[in-house]
């Protein structure tokens, strides 16, 4: 139990010392991507191999007083380079092995002992045709600057001593040496802007809540991460949960809240487990609870599991959900910072926003402002996915261009296909095209291009993607997730979805495009919350940048990328057709006719584009054309 700041410092020193004595580690990534490709089995095999050779050291032994040698295997949070998972990193050398399987355990342990890397497991850059040994030299990592993800992937997330050894809770120690006002001022000075999408200065929010008198104040961490295609917050919570706890502790102290909630998505059970465990650890050390480190400040943390509603990421809906009601937004003002949870002043911040706080308190606001761009200081995490060569989790300075992110870090479009667009900011965001590649990624530049940085989901799309279908996909999502409180959002999204459905089925008209724009602007203006206000963005931005593609669908009745089933055509390639009649028998609507042993013919007017003929043809004579 730590009773004073002094106690904390002593424990931290001890942890650091011990960790420095045990530097031989094999870090197996157990993040979402790697786990889905068998990382757990890889970890077990390495552990078994170490045990077999009598080299096994555990994380627990690392921190014990008894001298011990050996190698420590550990399962870490996301190391980022998900595309090449399962990943294994050797320490202290920093050698990174990619696409590791259970058969590689022996070679990996050998290489750590001998210092000679296993070349077949090193990352091979497909364009430069060279392999890289050290993680830090791989272009994917080299161009990043990891602040909030600094420990993610290198520490064991389920042991607080690992975090302490890396300077954890030092920001909190610094905060305790100041008054709450000074803490809020430091965050104001840093100009840290909310990473949950809105970009509102965190310090401003804090000072409003700090300045409101109330018997009880609350802090809520928004870990709802509803944007489909985003996994930054998940990775952070799973890989470095104490960083979030430390950020919340500092925030609670600054605004005078004694209770904090973490609202986590239902789909993230591992994050919930990790946070629960981290909270228990912090409580047993006295870093959470009453009179923390003898400061007189008390703070407790509770976890609320979401129940699967995207709209609950919106602040007032989130509050309704914690209170046990249907998650429906309320008009503002009053803002939550004045009257929020149980009508008390409440600050809601995103996971990544809070994860930046420990470093700001530890290194100061001037240091923070030296990163990123002047109006958007700091870094931003992105989840790179879709048709990009290197999918994964990255953290880059604000103001990095889209081109650097997609090409230099992301390795360009998968299989050398042509770049078509990126969808940024999820269903509320917009599409950016090749003409935006040199746009700096920060809050204000994206806003002016009709998109938004959002939470940081970035999905790359290549030429084979049908942009109209993508717009329909997003509209389907928002329509399903609309809470139904206001008419423009509830009915407008439904009508827009119907129109888009019509277009992808090949029944659209040019008037439909006008209708989409008209309804879209009404939904944007007339909706209460951010969900409705931004729901038309994907449609309106694609209509602006890819109007030709919409026109192909409605005028030429063609889907240029051949995706829309309703617009494809099946034709029989006569030279290949043997006239066996199989297709004619398979067709459910009798659209195929012909004479045995002569080429058959498909009546396009009757055809319902089900593809049954193509499936049954033994001679590949049925072709699908766009």
């Amino acid at each position: 139990m730590l009773n004073t700041l002094e106690d904390l410092q002593q424990l931290s020193k001890r942890c650091e010392l011990h960790r420095n004595r045990h530097q031989s580690r094999i870090a197996v990534c157990a993040g979402g991507g790697c786990s889905a490709s068998g990382a757990q089995q890889v970890y077990e095999s390495i552990r078994a191999e170490l045990e077999r050779r009598d080299l096994l050291n555990t994380v627990d032994q690392t921190f014990s007083e008894d001298a011990c040698s050996g190698i420590t295997p550990l399962g870490t949070g996301c190391q980022g380079f998900c595309e090449k998972g399962p990943l294994v990193r050797l320490e202290p050398s920093g050698t990174l092995y990619t696409e590791v399987s259970t058969d590689d355990a022996e070679a990996i342990v050998d290489s750590l002992l001998s210092g000679t890397p296993v070349s077949r497991l090193l990352y091979l850059d497909p364009t430069e045709k060279r392999s890289y040994e050290k993680e830090a030299s791989i272009p994917f990592y080299k161009l990043q600057s990891r602040i909030t993800l600094r420990n993610c992937g290198s520490i064991a997330p389920d042991d607080i001593r690992e975090y302490l050894a890396k300077g954890g809770y030092q920001g909190w120690a610094n905060a305790l040496e100041r008054t709450p006002d000074r803490v809020v001022q430091e965050v104001l000075d840093s100009n840290l802007r909310g990473r949950g999408g809105g970009g509102f200065p965190a310090g401003k929010k804090w000072s409003i809540a700090a300045g409101t008198d109330a018997e009880q104040k609350y802090l809520i961490c928004n870990a709802d991460e509803g944007d489909p295609g985003a996994f930054m917050d998940r990775s952070l919570m799973e890989g470095d949960p104490h960083r979030l706890l430390e950020g919340m502790l500092i925030a609670g102290y600054g605004i005078g809240a004694t209770v904090g909630y973490i609202y986590v998505r239902a789909e993230y059970p591992l994050a919930v487990d990790r946070l629960r465990h981290a909270i228990e650890e912090a409580e047993s050390l006295g870093l959470l609870g009453t009179d923390i480190l003898g400061s007189g400040f008390s703070f407790s943390l509770r976890i609320k599991e979401g129940a699967g509603a995207f709209v609950c990421g919106e602040e007032s809906a989130l509050i309704a959900s914690i209170e046990g009601r249907r998650g429906m937004p309320k008009p503002k003002p009053p803002f939550p910072a004045v009257s929020g949870l149980f009508n008390m002043p409440t600050v809601i911040n995103n996971v990544e926003t809070l994860a930046n706080i420990p470093d700001i308190l530890q290194h100061g606001s001037a240091w923070f402002r030296s990163l990123g761009s002047s109006a958007s200081p700091g870094t931003k995490t992105f989840a790179l996915s879709g048709d990009v060569e290197n999918t994964g989790l990255v953290e880059i300075p604000m103001g990095t261009t889209l081109r650097e992110l997609v090409y230099a870090i992301g390795g360009g479009v998968r299989s050398n296909a042509d770049f078509k667009a990126v969808q940024i900011g999820g269903p509320s965001g917009g599409c950016l095209t090749a003409e935006h590649l040199d746009l700096p990624l920060d809050f204000d530049s994206l806003q002016s291009a009709g998109a938004m940085i959002g939470s940081g989901g970035l999905v790359v799309m290549d030429e084979a993607t049908c942009i109209v279908e993508v717009a329909r996909f997003f509209m389907n999502f928002t329509q399903l997730e609309s809470c139904g409180k206001c008419v423009p959002c509830r009915e407008g999204t439904r009508r827009m979805l119907e129109i888009l459905q019509k277009i992808v089925e090949g029944r659209g008209t040019t008037e439909d495009l006008d209708h989409l724009e008209e309804i879209g602007s009404a939904v944007r203006i007339g909706s209460l919350c951010g969900l409705g206000k931004t729901a038309p963005n994907p449609v309106l931005s694609t209509l602006q940048y890819f109007r030709d593609e919409y026109l192909s669908h409605v005028v030429d009745r063609r889907c240029p990328s051949g995706v829309c089933k309703g617009l494809r055509r099946f034709v029989i390639n006569e030279p290949l057709c043997k006239g066996c009649s199989r297709c004619a028998k398979a067709c459910p609507v009798d659209a195929i006719s012909g004479t045995i042993r002569e080429p058959y013919l498909i009546d396009q007017d009757k055809c319902i584009k089900c593809g049954a003929c193509k499936d049954v043809c033994n001679f590949d004579a049925v072709e699908e054309v766009a």
Binding site: G32, R265, E267, K304, G324, A383, Q423
Partner: protein, 169 residues
């Protein structure tokens, strides 16, 4: 372990009581209680909804309203294996729909139904399970499978069918 229905019912009532004791007779306890039931039964049986309403002094309509608002809750029994095909953006652009169709075909689901006649499989889509880099992603009773192809799904489902009764655990 084999549990009788009556035992199970007693067990869940006990756990619901514990929740009320821990968090108080307050509407903010409602969602945790529903989650407890959903986890135990894979759906919300009607009699338990009434029990919850009484325990928290809420109207049955309020409880029903909350139960129907959130996607996690289901009023219909789900299959023994719940297959969730991720159709988040990343999975969608990497071909989640052909995987979904292949699964429906394989377990013989027709007419937009979500659960098979024999109660073995429920197939549904979800938006992002946070493993986007391994897209397309499928989870089966919470176990995550990455980079799934329509062909791979046959192998996975065949293994499940031969594995037997793990889902009751």
């Amino acid at each position: 372990m084999l549990q009788t229905t009556a035992n199970r019912q007693l067990d869940i009532l006990q756990r619901l009581d514990n929740l009320v004791q821990r968090y108080g007779k307050h509407s903010s306890t409602l969602i945790p209680m529903l989650q407890e039931i959903q986890n135990a039964y894979r759906y919300l049986p009607e009699d338990l909804l009434t029990h919850v309403a009484t325990a928290l002094d809420l109207s049955p309509a309020t409880v029903y309203g909350v139960a129907t608002f959130y996607a996690q809750f289901s009023l219909e029994p789900k299959g023994k294996y719940v297959i969730q095909v991720c159709d988040g953006t990343a999975c969608h652009v990497r071909g989640s729909m052909p995987v979904y169709e292949a699964i429906c075909k394989k377990v013989r689901l027709v007419d937009g139904k979500a659960t098979t006649e024999d109660g073995m499989f429920t197939v549904e889509t979800v938006s992002c399970v946070g493993a986007c880099a391994a897209a397309p992603v499928v989870t089966i009773n919470g176990e995550v499978y990455g980079k799934v192809t329509p062909d791979a799904i046959h192998v996975i489902l065949d293994t499940l069918e031969s594995r037997g009764d793990t889902a009751d655990a």
